[in-house]
């Protein structure tokens, strides 16, 4: 695949679907014509560095595609913070985060849990999500999109699947997502950051409450809370590193495997410790309330056990993937 092909595939991903072929054909002609003019002027084929310089001058694929979308919306506060190139993705990530946070809040309220003290409890995580996501996008806008030297046409990637997969790899793709053999796309990292940010915020919000009605957190919850947060923070760091170093694909796979192993260890310890909610000291409970407590512990035990088994499978796939990936 030539640098122009790679570049055009990356542009294509961000274009309106119905105009993709038309625009890419026109851009292809324009880029080839420009390269040919340069070669004619120099009297020789272009060197790779010269091709890279021309493509950089043409602009980041997301910036090029944004001009065709005709959507000039951006986030500005005195100066541009998030430009039209990233704005549609920013809105999608915000929508995903807000959707998940609101859904969790509603489920918690419907279940009658004391974890979220009323609807107002949703506002804090929403504000945190907004701050997290906006800060990340501002950094991306300044570091990659706005800076002509902040990206490399040799490593820019299309988001479409371009890896041949066997049946077993097909299962891995279903469970783990597309194999990133050369680079991790910005979109993948952004999505991971968004999802993990939601989970982390919710986990920190829930925390280890001293008392939940007639119950309190049991050892299966209380004693594994800090290690679980540590694993989440580690998982959160991985896509941030990949935003800065998209070619660190082995790091990504190794990090995912490490997170999986952490999740398995925490799950096993939690299962060994047993109860996730226990009767609070001095509290009295009716037989019905006690049966609710038992049901919560049973459902949690099954969920944790299922998570351990599934994570074991994904860990094995990640380790296999890591071994098969050549360094560099």
């Amino acid at each position: 695949m030539t640098l122009i092909d790679r570049y055009l595939r990356a542009v294509r991903d961000h274009l309106p679907r119905e105009q993709q072929d038309d625009i890419i054909n026109e851009l292809s002609d324009s880029l080839h014509s420009r390269f040919e003019d340069e070669e004619a002027a120099k009297g020789r084929p272009l060197l790779e560095d010269e091709e890279v310089a021309l493509l950089r001058a043409y602009g980041h694929p997301m910036a090029v595609a944004a001009r065709y979308r005709g959507d000039e919306r951006s986030v500005t506060f005195g100066r541009r913070l998030i430009g039209p190139e990233l704005f549609p993705i920013y809105m999608k990530v915000l929508a995903v985060n807000v959707g998940i946070t609101v859904l969790i809040g509603i489920i918690a309220l419907v279940a009658g849990a004391q974890i979220w003290p009323g609807f107002a409890g949703i506002i804090v995580p929403l504000a945190l999500q907004f701050g997290f996501v906006t800060a990340i996008f501002v950094i991306i806008d300044r570091r990659w999109i706005g800076d002509p030297d902040g990206w490399d046409p040799r490593t820019v990637t299309a988001m479409g699947p371009d890896v041949d997969v066997s049946t077993f790899d097909g299962i891995a793709v279903q469970l783990l997502g597309k194999e990133h053999t050369r680079t991790v796309s910005i979109a993948t990292s952004i999505l991971e950051i968004g999802v993990i940010a939601v989970v982390l915020t919710v986990a920190l919000q829930i925390g280890r409450p001293e008392r939940i009605g007639f119950m309190e957190p049991g050892p299966g919850w209380r004693d594994v809370f800090v290690p679980a947060i540590a694993v989440l923070v580690f998982a959160f760091v991985t896509p941030i590193v990949n935003l800065i170093r998209p070619r660190w694909t082995r790091f990504r796979v190794a990090s995912h495997a490490a997170v999986d192993i952490g999740v398995i260890a925490i799950g096993i310890v939690s299962l060994m410790l047993g109860s996730w909610v226990v009767l609070a000291p001095g509290a009295t409970a009716t037989a019905e309330e006690l049966s609710v407590m038992v049901a919560i512990n049973t459902v949690t035990r099954i969920s944790v056990a299922a998570t351990v088994v599934l994570t074991g499978i994904t860990a094995a796939l990640e380790i296999r993937r890591f071994v098969r990936m050549r360094p560099g």
């Binding site: 625009i23 054909n25 026109e26 851009l27 292809s28 002609d29 324009s30 080839h32 065709y68 005709g70």
Partner: protein, 120 residues
């Protein structure tokens, strides 16, 4: 030789003003140049050679917008073993160009009067 001091504006502010000033002129230049048929890359070169530098990322979306507005017609044809999209002014485009050129002449005359008159 007289020199013009660089304007004391924040970074990028002057560029924004310059871009605003050029925006309308670019449309006029593109429409005028497409009285003869061109494909995108050749049009850009022709404009640049005549002092109207424009990058592809501005030109191509502009061509699509003008075509959507009915001011341009286009067709794909093969040339130099590559498919190219050729643009030309439509009948509506010709009428609009004539009116815009009149407007431009009026603006030019007004600006000349305003910028050359004694400021007392």
């Amino acid at each position: 030789m007289a020199t013009i001091d660089k304007p004391a504006l924040p970074d990028g502010a002057f560029d924004n003003l310059r871009l605003e000033l050029r925006r309308g002129a670019l449309v006029l230049a593109v429409l005028a140049r497409l009285r003869t048929e061109h494909y995108g890359y050749a049009l850009r070169k022709a404009l640049t050679e005549q002092g109207m530098d424009i990058d592809e990322n501005t030109l191509y979306p502009l061509l699509r917008r003008l075509e959507t507005q009915g001011l341009l017609d286009s067709e794909w044809r093969e040339e130099d073993r590559r498919p190219k999209r050729f643009y030309r002014l439509s009948a509506d485009g010709r009428a609009v160009l004539a009116r815009l050129l009149e407007q431009w002449a009026d603006l030019d005359a007004s600006l000349r009067r305003i910028t050359t008159e004694d400021p007392r």
